[in-house]
Amino acid sequence: MSIVLENVTFTYMPKTPFEKTALNDVSLSVESGEFTAIIGHTGSGKTTLLQHFNGLLMPDKNKGSVYVDGEKITKKNVRDVRMKVGYVFQYPEHQLFEETVFKDIAFGLKRLKLSDEEIKERVLAAAKTVDLDEALLERSVFELSGGEKRRVAICGVLVTNPSYLLLDEPASGLDPAGKREIMKLLKSLNDRGMTIVFISHSMDDVAENARRVVIVNDGGIGLDGTPYEVFKNRELLTSWGLDVPEVTKLFDDLRIKSGLDIPHVITISEGVKLVEKLKAEGRLKL
């Protein structure tokens, strides 16, 4: 089970003076169960790349193909693919439209021709997953706070039980608590076996949560590996307009200034453990 992109090239507005090749011969595969982050500078092609995963965009003619669970995405099967591969847009709350939260969440189920009972069951289950208060379900979608709207929107995608979930900057524009909740939600979905691929501009979020990091740079794959492997390349990342997590910088500076032989650190909990260890070994006095 996987999503595979094979030599994908994609051009916006082809054959016009505004032509823009946003992806250039990209090959990438995402295996079932992964928790992957896509990072890259603004305009590097992250969104374009992610939209190929469920056929929202299709590669240029004869310039590559995309396979979901071994099946090539075509115009014919694309709607079935989308039931399997959920996509949460950036600022998904802008797409809410129904009179009530319940109806909006249920929108994705229309196509499945379920009974009212089944619909209710599914909506309640999805609402529980994203920790949405049941009392909100009968409210108008336009009366919710930004964070609540975001959760309703994610809920509306989860309700079809996709096996892959793609998210474009799911935490952008939220307060720190909202961000933590979204990342926690993604983690718990992943623990339950859902494949998660998300775009993020927060290196800290990526380092803390993702198990694989793909860097998109100027329409191609710059680096691809574990967060640990990727965030070792501070200079390269900086030259691509990216950064490493704050805690990595802290321990880098510590290594240089103190001359201590300490390994790379990418998360805060790792850093804490390292400091404790150094203290116990008497190499560091606080």
């Binding site: 003076p17 469920n54 847009f89 802008h94 797409q95 439209f97 189920l109």
Partner: protein
Amino acid sequence: MRISLGRFVPGDSLIHRADPRTKLIWTIVMMVLVLMCSSWWQYLTAAVFVIGCFALSGISFKYILMSLRPIMLLLAITVIFNLLFFKGTDVLFTLGALTVYKEGVLQSVKTIIRVSLLIISASLLTYTTSSVAITDGMESLMRPLAKIGFPAHEVAMMMSIALRFVPTFADETDKIMKAQAARGADFDSGNVFKKVKSYIPVLIPLFVGAFKSAEDMATAMESRCYKGGKGRTRYKVLKFSSADLIMLIVTLVFTATVILLKYVFKI
């Protein structure tokens, strides 16, 4: 986003650099001129002028075809009606109850030329002039009307805001359609009613967003002390150069030629 009819194509030709007022006048004169034409010679004169200006603008002739594409159907229908119902003297052929006259065919060709020339002149304006420049030019041309109470500045400002938001809404529509498609919306199947209904999930967020943008825009304008056209100075001052004068004179010459052909030489 698709390229649409009349989108500004940046360039640095004589036509691009001309004062937008010149181009507006040129377009209006061209339209009247084309509508005045009745004989082949007159059409030829107008066509030479319009196509000549297009060539001067350096814009690829592909764009002519692109601007004509949306009216192909309209043209086809007009031609069919002309062929079927135009009564003349020279029978070309008969097909059952239908008689096609030579005059009908000629008339169809003229209609095609006329409509095409109209569209090409209008699109030459929009291809070579940014929407901001067009509205600036309009405001400047309408200024005399302000003396008799016509809200020239307000009309121009409304137009420029409307034009400013066209691409934004096109992008937004595209994005919302994709987002709803991602959660299983179907915009293609079913009968007409079903199809119209399937656009509700697109229209509601689009309108909510539009009202919000309008509000934001109003706040932004107010906070920059916008209070109408009175006493407002311009960053880009329109300048009427000698090139503009030459362009207008050439336009005048061609117009005069058509008038002479039509009323004096009667060819």
